[in-house]
């Protein structure tokens, strides 16, 4: 299978025009000692054979009912999201460098930025980042640039994968990273305050935390601001239908994973990361930003703006190396948010909490299972089992249920604990089955 339209006669005509005898002559500039030593790949196949093969692979994955999150959530996606984002004018376009023939994606990204600002309660947003973890790392780097300080404090209740990404990003820079262990499967709480001083660039927190707890960081924001630093908060966008927004708390930079807005699980990607901030911080933001302007006849239009921050202009002095972002996934997020609307996201968030409350009741009705979060939950909560959590989770996986994420790998003393995620997509029947199977694994 190939996608090239050339006939042999046309190839000949083109070679004649160029003035060479063969296509090989065009590669004559490559000296023989640089030629490939091997290129041992399978022969090509038709699309039908390819699809058969990939269907075969997909069948080797099992259907599992996910009560797991870890930054990726199994939410309902309205049909219109696929249909609209599937328009090839969007998905086969490049970055909108030529605004006159890219107003569609530029306006959509401006609308996306607006939705992110409204959801987070902040003033400015970029046009997307890669994912939630890299967005947190970019938020940390942004705070370091703004404050000129080299010390970061991270709440140990932030998603461990995201913390790992932050550490990887900062490994080669002269930055001290202090992780503060969480308490009671909630947040690091008061211990964070003790780490704040005038050398601290930022405190990194999340809401909800990895344990599922909702938090109010208003006092923390005041404390870090008194010391001249910034508060960076990672948020789960669906939760912002209910939870106090970063802007209301005084958060300076909000980041997060946008997957829960209209993007399928897809074994971990693609989805998108987002970053929003207070207006004064805009020149230190990473990535592309779309701005409103007018054309020469004073008509409203949109362009990529503040590009002097970016790598293609500033090279090594850029605010980030990011070039391609996750535009199409951000577009999916915008379409989903538009279908939900102002009330819809509140209802969606409430439904998530309703399902979690029901599941929490069902699980804690099992002998020996206790709820250990100190703070209220959104759609995830942490329970302690009577035995090793990873064994129980493994047993339930064999029954087609991903019951939760065991905490033992990341938190000392967490060997018996699991974080259970319950989105609006989980039915009462599925939740009841989770409880029944868990009970059977634990006690029969």
């Amino acid at each position: 299978m190939d996608f090239t339209p050339h006939t042999p006669g046309q190839v000949r005509e083109m070679l004649d025009t160029i003035g060479v005898k063969s296509v090989a002559d065009l590669f004559a500039q490559i000296p023989p000692h640089l030629r490939a030593k091997s290129f041992d790949l399978p022969a090509g196949i038709s699309e039908f054979e390819m699809l058969d093969r990939l269907k075969g692979l997909a069948k080797q994955n099992a259907d599992v009912v996910p009560f797991v999150g870890g930054g990726f959530y199994d939410h309902l996606i309205p049909s219109a999201v696929d249909h609209l984002a599937g328009r090839s004018e969007f998905y086969t376009a490049y970055t909108p460098y030529q605004p006159e023939c890219s107003q569609g994606s530029l306006q959509a990204l401006f609308e996306y930025q607006t939705a992110i600002c409204r959801l987070t309660g902040l003033d400015v947003s970029n046009a997307s980042l890669y994912d939630g973890g890299t967005a947190l790392a970019e938020g940390a780097l942004m705070a370091i640039r703004i404050t000129g300080r080299q010390r970061l404090v991270i709440d140990g209740a932030v998603n461990p994968f995201h913390r790992a990404i932050v550490k990887t990003y900062l490994e080669n820079l002269p930055v001290e990273v202090v992780e503060v262990p969480p308490e009671d499967a909630s947040t690091a709480g008061g211990a964070l305050f003790g780490e704040i001083d005038d050398r601290c660039a930022a405190v990194l927190v999340s809401n909800p935390t990895f344990f599922g707890c909702a938090a109010d960081y208003t006092e923390l924001a005041a404390k870090i601001h008194e010391n001249g630093g910034l508060l960076v908060s990672s948020v789960y966008p669906v939760s912002l239908g209910l939870l106090k927004s970063p802007g209301e708390m005084g958060v300076d930079i909000a980041v997060g994973d946008g997957q829960s807005l209209g993007n399928p699980l897809s074994f971990g990607g693609p989805a998108f990361g987002f970053i929003a901030a207070k207006k004064a911080l805009i020149r230190n933001m990473p990535g592309r930003i779309v701005g409103e302007t007018v054309d020469r006849e004073n008509r409203r239009g949109f362009v990529l703006t503040l590009q002097a921050r970016e790598q293609h202009i500033k090279r090594h002095k850029a605010t980030s190396n990011i070039c391609s972002n996750q535009s199409l996934c951000a577009l999916r997020g915008l379409i989903h948010m538009s279908l939900l609307g102002k009330q819809g996201i509140v209802t969606l968030a409430q439904r998530n909490r309703d399902k979690a409350a029901y599941a929490l009741g069902a699980l804690t009705a099992i002998r020996g299972v206790t709820h250990i979060n100190r703070e209220p939950y959104f759609n995830e909560f942490t329970v302690r089992l009577p035995g090793r959590a990873d064994d129980a989770v493994a047993a339930l996986l064999r029954r087609g249920i991903a019951a939760g994420v065991p905490l033992g790998n990341w938190y000392p003393g967490g060997d018996k604990d699991i974080v259970v995620t319950v989105t609006e997509k989980r039915s009462k029947v599925e939740i009841d089955r989770l409880a029944k199977e868990l009970e059977s694994v634990l006690w029969s």
Partner: protein, 480 residues
């Protein structure tokens, strides 16, 4: 046209949830609740569908028109690859990382493992990870792997060398890994100045980042010498795979001596660019660097099944959450399977043929600063047209009126008034001939009626937007 927020009508909604089958949860404490609902637009489903359909008509993509945007490789994106990606949308990545979860995700892991093997063979490297989420992310991950290698050896390294023709992401990625940048000028023959390179090379150089063919579309015949010189001071050599599509099957970076390579799946292997992403930027490394690759990694177990290794002992850690932009990887995998060995070689050859054909037919009317056989793209300058007050941007806008997406303009920065044309292999001679005719017409018009070019575009909803005003007003969020 109106913003979606300007179409909002209080009380409308576009999607309904299923009936609630559980009791309502007790309310959250007030201190944790937001004070009012976020101002998302209120519309019916049809309102939303009309809005985004209208927006889509204000965009052009490869499906609609020739899109010779240099350095971006806007080749056709096969529809069957889209279908392939849909097969994997229901699967959560987390079970792969749980005890006992690997048997449930064997299909995904097998695909990733096979993709790693295919990319190893294509690039001539010993190990591959598909975790990086875009080309620049691959660059940064690759440079971090290099930094970890030097740290493990106790090497004291300070600098990364890049040619001035490099993509801006190269120096930006190296800077994120803590290195200082040394930029080497381009020699009159179009490649990195070898003498200047030799003068800059020292024991403190951690890496040299090369794009080959470079952003002028030229193949550097000295790349092996550059690799050997770098290795002489224990500097590693990074291959920016942005232009790998030019040399598939002809040259493998690993054979030449490169230590790290990234591959832009969205360029070389035909996955769609999505108005700016998602991309995917797997990296390949030589064996000595494999222990430093990010986790989680897919491994083949002794019993023939696939597992996940999450050992961070020597790894740089995590550069992304899970296994990369998996849906993009599936599309590229589908593309490689369909084209196969011969198809991939042919793709490179016809991409190079198309670029040289366009170059041959335009070089009498546009200045060609580096007049030699090019690879997959050619770079002209609008310097002759400037004598008539016409710039590269004016030619670009004229092309928009004629239904084309313009080539890349003003990049690479080392060419004044650059017009960078990358036709790709999926375009027919008829398409190229029609485009060439319009490019020649633009050159003629620059002489006969330059004002016509300065007026362009006249067929678009907006024309010549005021970028200064956008940057000054910083209106990036609708506040109405």
């Amino acid at each position: 046209m109106e913003l979606i927020y300007e179409k909002s009508v209080p009380g409308r909604h576009g999607v309904a949830l299923p009936a609630n089958d559980v009791p309502p949860a007790p309310p959250l404490p007030a201190r944790l609740q937001r004070s009012g609902a976020a101002g998302l637009p209120e519309l019916s489903e049809l309102d939303v569908v009309r809005h985004f359909t209208t927006l889509s008509r204000r965009n052009v993509g490869v499906d609609g028109t020739f899109y010779p945007l240099g350095s971006c490789t806007m080749k056709y994106n096969p529809k069957s690859a889209e279908e392939a990606a849909k097969l994997f949308t229901p699967f959560h990545p987390m079970p792969a990382l749980l005890l006992g979860g690997e048997p449930l995700v064997q299909g995904s892991l097998a695909l990733l493992q096979h993709m790693d093997e295919l990319l190893q063979e294509i690039t001539g490297m010993d190990a591959v990870t598909c975790q990086p989420l875009a080309g620049a992310h691959g660059e940064m991950t690759g440079i971090m792997v290099i930094a970890a290698y030097h740290r493990a050896k106790g090497n004291k390294k300070k600098y990364v060398i890049v040619p001035d023709s490099s993509h801006g992401t190269n120096p930006a990625s190296a800077a994120m890994a803590g290195y200082e940048i040394v930029t080497i000028p381009t020699a009159p023959y179009g490649d990195m100045d070898l003498d200047a390179f030799k003068a800059a090379l020292s024991d403190e150089v951690a890496a040299v980042m090369m794009t080959c063919p470079n952003t002028l579309g030229l193949f550097n015949p000295h790349i092996k010498e550059i690799c050997d010189l770098a290795h002489g001071v224990d500097a590693l050599v990074y291959y920016d795979g942005a232009n790998l599509n030019a040399i598939l099957g002809h040259v493998r970076p690993g054979d030449v001596g490169f230590d790290v390579v990234h591959v832009n799946l969205h360029k070389t292997f035909g996955t769609p660019h999505g108005s700016g992403g998602p991309g995917s930027g797997p990296i390949g490394v030589k064996a000595a660097l494999a222990p430093f690759l990010p986790v989680p990694r897919v491994v083949k177990l002794d019993d023939g099944t696939f597992g996940v290794a999450d050992d961070t002992a020597r790894s740089i850690g995590r550069s992304a959450n899970f296994f990369g932009n998996f849906g993009v990887i599936v599309r590229a995998y589908a593309y490689i399977l369909m084209l196969g060995r011969e198809g991939l070689i042919e793709a490179s050859e016809l991409a190079v043929l198309n670029a040289n054909y366009v170059m041959s037919r335009l070089k009498d009317v546009y200045e060609l600063p580096y007049d030699q056989t090019c690879m997959h793209e050619c770079v002209f300058s609008a310097s002759r047209q400037m004598a008539h007050g016409v710039h590269a941007i004016d030619i670009a806008k004229f092309l928009i009126d004629r239904g084309y997406h313009p080539p890349t303009v003003y990049f690479p920065m080392i060419v004044k008034e650059a017009i960078m044309i990358e036709p790709t292999e999926t375009e027919s001679k008829e398409t190229l001939d029609a485009f060439i005719a319009v490019m020649r017409e633009a050159a003629d018009t620059a002489v006969t009626d330059p004002a016509a070019l300065l007026r362009a575009p006249v067929t678009t909803p907006v024309s010549r937007l005021d970028e200064t005003k956008a940057a000054r007003s910083q209106n990036v969020c609708f506040t109405g």
